[in-house]
Structure formats: C-alpha cells, structure tokens
Symmetry: C2
Subunit: 412 residues, 2 copies
C-alpha cells in the first residue's frame, strides 16, 4: 500500500520569536481608542487569514488601573473568536459578559480549581447584571476522569437545571476540563455556547486554542469528541500563581518558572498566535494542523500506557518529542545539532526526556495502533525534516527507524 | 418576560401532493443517460436552494432489470447528499460503494434487523471490491436502548477494530439505530463518514433526513447529540415488507398499509422532499425547521412519561399532534374542520388520537420543561394558525389554552 506524505514548511517558534509585523500594538490601540470602538473589541476586522494580536484599553471601564488585555483573534470565518490574555482579567467582567449567550450559565470546573477561582468567575459573570444566573458542576481532578461517566455528570446537571439552548457553558480549569466542557457544550441539545477560562499553562497555550474537544476511551486518548469553537477564551495569567511547579514546567520552559507576569503573558500570547495561525489555515486537521502534534504520538502512548493521570500531558509530550526527534535523526532527515538542542531545552525546563521505564516496545505499538493519525491502517508520524522549522506529517518512512527508536528508549 | 414568536407559512403535504415542477424525471434522466454521467450521479448541480428529485438509470450496471432509484438531493452546500429511494436497491452495490470513504466499514444495526438484512448489506458493500472489509456491531432493539451505555458499545467496537478516520459507519435499522450511529460517527475520532440505510417508515421519511443525531437522557428525549449529515441515504422499500403492521402504521396512513411498492416509494419520496426542502432552508433549526416537529412536544412527553420503548415514536407523535391541534383550536387560531380532518386521518391510519391513560397533567408539564424548544425558561410550541398549511413556532400563547388541552386529555 502506497502511503501519502504531506510536507509543510512552518516557522516554528524559537527561543526568541520574531513578533509578527501586522497590526502593531500601538497603532491598533490608537485606532480603537480614538474611535471608541468598545463594541468592536470582540469583532475586529475579519479579512485576515492569519490570527493577529493587539493590545487594547477599555475606554468605558471604571477600573482603568487594571491592565488591558492582549487580544489574539482566531480567524475561522463565522466561528472566529478572541483570546484575551493578561493579568487581573477576572476582575474585568465586561470581557466575559459580552460573550455570554442567554441568561443562564453553567460553570464546569474541578475540585482543585473551584475553591480558588469559582467565586471570582461567578462574580465576573454576574457583576452588574442581576438577570444572569450561574450554576456549577464540580468534577474530580485528573486525566483519569476524562471519561464518559464523568462527562455524563455535566449532562445530568444541565438537564436537572432545565437549561435550554440559550445558555452558556464555561470551562474553568486545565485541559481536561476544557476538553470535557467543550464536548459537553457541543453535544448538549446538539450544541450550546461555551467559554474557556483555562487555568494551567498547557490549557492556556494549547487546548484552549483550536476547538478540539473530547474524552478518552480506556484504549486511547481523545478518541471521542468534536471540533467545536468557544465564544471566547479568557486567560488570566494570575491563575498560574497557584499552579504547582510541576504543572508549570509541564507547559513551559525554565526561564518562565519565575512567573514574571509580563514574561508569562508574552509567552502565552506568542504560543496562542502560533497555534491560531495554523488552526486558521486547517481547522479540521486535514494535514498542516497535525504538525502541531509533534511528540504527541509517542506522548499519548505514554499517557495511555502508564495510566491516565500518572504523567502530566506536557511531561509525556516532552518525552515523546525527544523520541520523534530521535526517529527523525535516524531517518537522516535532521542533523545532530537539532537533536541536542531539543534535549537541552527540555532538560532546562526540568521535563522528562525519555519515557517511563515501565513502557515497553509492545506497549507503544499497541497504543499507537489506535492513534487518530492512523489512516488505512498506516500510522502517520509528525517528524522534523531539514533545517529547524521544517516539519512533515507522513506515513512514508522506513519502519526500521521507528523500531530502532522504540528499542533505544525502552528496556524491553 | 416578552416572548418572541416566529411565524411561517408552509405548504404542508396534503393527501394529494402536487409534484414539484423542476427538473422533471424524464428530462433529468435523458440528460444523464445521454452524457453517461455515471460519476456525477452523487454530485448533481448544486445551484438550487431547495431539494429536487430525479429518476436515473445507471448505464454501467449489468443488472438493467433492476428498477432505477428515485433520487432526492438534500442541498446543504458542501454537506449535500442524495437520498436513493426504490425497490431492490440493496441489490445495486454501486449505489452504496460510491459513498464509502476508506476501505473499512462498520455496520451498526440491531438484533431484529441483523438477521433480515445484514448479509445483504455486507454483500452490497463488498461485491466486486475485495479491498473493502465490513464489520458490524449489533445492538439491542428499542427506544429504551437509545442511551449512552449502548452508544459506548459502538465506540468500543470501533476502537477494538482499530478503525481510523478513513472509515465509514453504516446505520442499518430504524430511527433509533440511525440516530445512534449518526452520533457515534459524529463523535468517533471527532467525525467519520456515515451512510444511512433506514428500514422503517419512520426512519425513511423522518430521521434519515436532516442530520439530527443523538441519544436520550433518562429525563428527556434526544437531549445529547449533534447535527451531522450522512454521505447518502439508501431507502430500499423492500425492507418494509418485513415490518410489523404496527410499525408501518406508526409511520404511514392506512392507504399505504397494502404495501404497494410504487405507492410506498412515492409517499417516501414526497415526504423526503418536503423535509429536505425545510432542512435546506434551516439546517440548524433556528426557527422554520422547528415546524417539522408538530406534535412532538406532547409526543416526546408521552414517550418519556410512559417509558422509552412502550409507545412507538409515530404513535406518540400522532397523539401529540391531536393535542397540538386541540390547543390551536382553543386559542382560536384554526377552525373546527381542521381538528376533525386531523383526527380522521390518524384514525384511518389506526393511530392513537389521545395519550395513554397513565399520563397526568403533571407528567406532561414535568417532561416538557426539558424540551429542547424551551428558550429562556419559556416553552415554545408548534401550533397551527390560519388556513391549513400555516404553522407557527412560538412561546407567545395563552397559558390557559395549554392547561385546558392537558386537562382535556388527561384523567388527572
């Protein structure tokens, strides 16, 4: 069977990303301020193909001491939405309220996040608007609960509350909450509005952008779900202050572990922009978008193999990235300096650079066989090829390189 | 709270529907035959807004003694699909095979239908194409199994079989199978192709057209699901020959109980055309499409109230239609002749014209409170208003009329 290869050349983010040149922060800011286009904040001009970003002041806000958010627009035609990024955004109720559909809101969160932020979110949703009522459903915390039984608790709650199509779901938490709440919103009454308030780095830079929602099956990650876009994503970088170091490292490089707010906001903004650009070009993952999943094929196998919730997603993908880079090198597609660079960056970030010792070659092969990137029985891999920044999504590779990589990283 | 009303004037099907004038069967047939446009059968010109129909011969088929199908095209832009209607269509493999995506097929069916038609469908899918492999999952039969537990059996099977995104699900059965298989296809790997082969009248004229998929929640019908369109619908009217009278009556009027093939095909075609026209104009049910649900608000309450699987869907909707018409009359919106006419037609079809005696006013009110047509807490009803053929979808009605109708049809 001949395989088809899809090759892309992408400008992947480097340690010193170059800001994209179009609408500059100052000029966009001036335009909006001068024209008092308050209501247009959430509906900027949509003629661009790529995502763009801008920093805006809210001329009507009484709390002018609050920092204005940075906005990254994800351009998906009539499913476009803004990502607000900044410090103290949960104290700026208008950012959320302009995106609430109907008068009733269901916040989906977990037992860890609820005590920290649920009250703040309820306040932000209802402040100054007594007609809005907010209910919540609090799920257990952890990847091991990203399953159908837990998802049903969201439906149960929504139906017991008699929510109708004119309601809004709000995901408050990490990637697991975002994926589950998004899928629940996609399927409840065949689709209601939802808003993402991601509180972990992984959710802020990854799962909140792109509309992938879903749950795990015991045999594989994210096998049941939907492509479904939120009304907006609100990223309050202050929520990272309560995040354990392990979780922060799982999403970020060491340099950001100091939690400097402006460094965090900048890193998140650049990550969102990079992802939004790719998603704008390929929403349903026909090819290009798959390259965002570098390291995920091996990484998902690790998560499933060792048991959901044992390794953080970012940890598993870090080790998976090292494996994908190793395989690319064995194929002769990249030179050794890239292998070293990737390893060094991940080590600096205190992330694992190899799978857990319990993972065997057979475990990898068994789990990877149900990966969504399998097509007509052939597993396609995301691999590096050529100078740094070039990526391929292909099933056309020497099987020996895959076997050699698996044997090199597994004890049996 | 002010309610919003949406009024529509529709040409509802009467006992003697007028065939739509555009492309006539013969001219369309000649065009296609003369130009040997075999491959264009599934992609007719898409400039129309409304669905149209045509009858075509397959110039390459060796079995020219078989009747050519009638085709109703459902025009939904890039989600358009054809409905093939006729006798013996399961013996015309090319109809199905041209719509199969990938080389692997999962047939979802039930214990009643599988012994009758599964072998035929497998033969139709594989005949002349040894590269296609077909697997099946056989679910229990009945509305009471249209739930998440049963749906998970489809995912389990698909994942155990290592199906990938290049596969096709086939729904073989009635409305329950079609709704469940469609939702499974929508959610598996965030969306794979599917084909509908409806084997009951209700599924052939209703659930197979329009892309509504989903499952029941114990508190209400169809509360979890997706809008998801099939690649094609294949309606072999011969499958109705094995249908019990009760099921046939549930979908059709008495005149068709004789099971005359051409009468069946004509009635199904006209029903599909009527529904496809409305769905083309309002795929996601923002208003107009809701009018297709005349009788469903009361009907769903009956199905949920007496327990899924006790009353057939068509039976419940028949009684629900009588109640909706009664309520319209109490509001002064229609004259008595329409009330009589609806009752007479349903009685001729041996369908119930009142809810079961166990249904109470409180049961109706409790179940209707979670109906998907509730908006901002207000239940909108589909009611008749004015001369026959005019329908409204509105929450703006006198509550007393609803109470009076419920009391008139319930003993307590």
């Amino acid at each position: 069977m001949a395989s088809t290869a899809t090759h892309f050349s992408l400008s992947l983010p480097t340690k010193q990303p170059t800001p994209i040149p179009k609408p500059t922060h100052t000029s966009f800011f001036s335009f909006r301020k001068n024209h008092s286009h308050f209501n247009s904040l959430s509906t900027p001009p949509k003629s661009r193909i790529y995502a763009s970003s801008s920093q805006v002041m809210d001329p009507f806000s009484p709390k002018t001491q609050l920092s204005p958010p940075t906005i990254v627009d994800v351009d998906l035609g009539n499913r476009s939405y803004p990502i607000y990024i900044g410090s103290g955004l949960l104290h700026q109720p208008h950012l959320l309220q302009r995106h609430v559909h109907g008068k009733r809101v269901l916040v989906v969160t977990n037992k860890t996040v609820a005590p920290l932020y649920l009250d703040k979110v309820v306040e932000a949703l209802t402040s100054g608007d007594p007609n809005v009522s907010v209910e919540s459903v609090i799920l257990p915390d952890g990847e091991q609960y990203k399953d159908m039984d837990t998802l049903m608790k969201v439906f149960d709650k929504a139906i017991e509350l008699r929510l109708d199509r004119r309601c809004t779901f709000v995901a408050l938490g990490g990637g697991v909450i975002g994926d589950m709440c998004g899928f629940a919103a996609a399927a409840f009454l065949r689709g209601v509005s939802f808003i993402q308030i991601p509180t972990t780095v992984m959710a802020q830079v990854d799962s909140s952008v792109g509309g992938k929602t879903g749950i795990n099956h015991r045999l594989g990650k994210n096998l049941i779900g939907a492509f479904y876009q939120p009304q907006c994503v609100l990223i309050d970088t202050d929520t990272l202050n309560t995040l354990p170091d392990r979780e922060l490292a799982s999403g970020f490089a060491e340099a950001l572990l100091a939690r400097d707010p402006s460094a965090l906001a900048y890193a998140i903004k650049r990550s969102c922009e990079n992802k939004a650009e790719v998603v704008s070009l390929d929403e349903k993952e026909s090819g290009l978008r798959a390259t965002l999943n570098l390291g995920h094929t091996f990484g998902h196998a690790i998560e499933t193999g060792v048991g959901y919730g044992q390794w953080l997603h970012g940890e598993a993908v870090a080790a998976g990235t090292v494996m994908a880079v190793d395989m690319s090198y064995r194929l002769g597609w990249i030179d050794e300096s890239i292998v070293k660079r990737v390893g060094d960056i991940l080590k600096q970030a205190k992330l694992p650079t190899a799978p857990p010792e319990t993972m065997t070659v057979d475990m990898f092969k068994s789990v990877m066989a149900v990966d969504k990137k399998v097509a007509d029985g052939l597993l396609r891999h995301i691999l590096l090829k050529g100078p740094l920044g070039n990526c391929v999504f292909t099933g056309d590779y020497d099987r020996k390189a895959l076997d050699d990589t698996l044997r090199a990283f597994c004890k049996s």
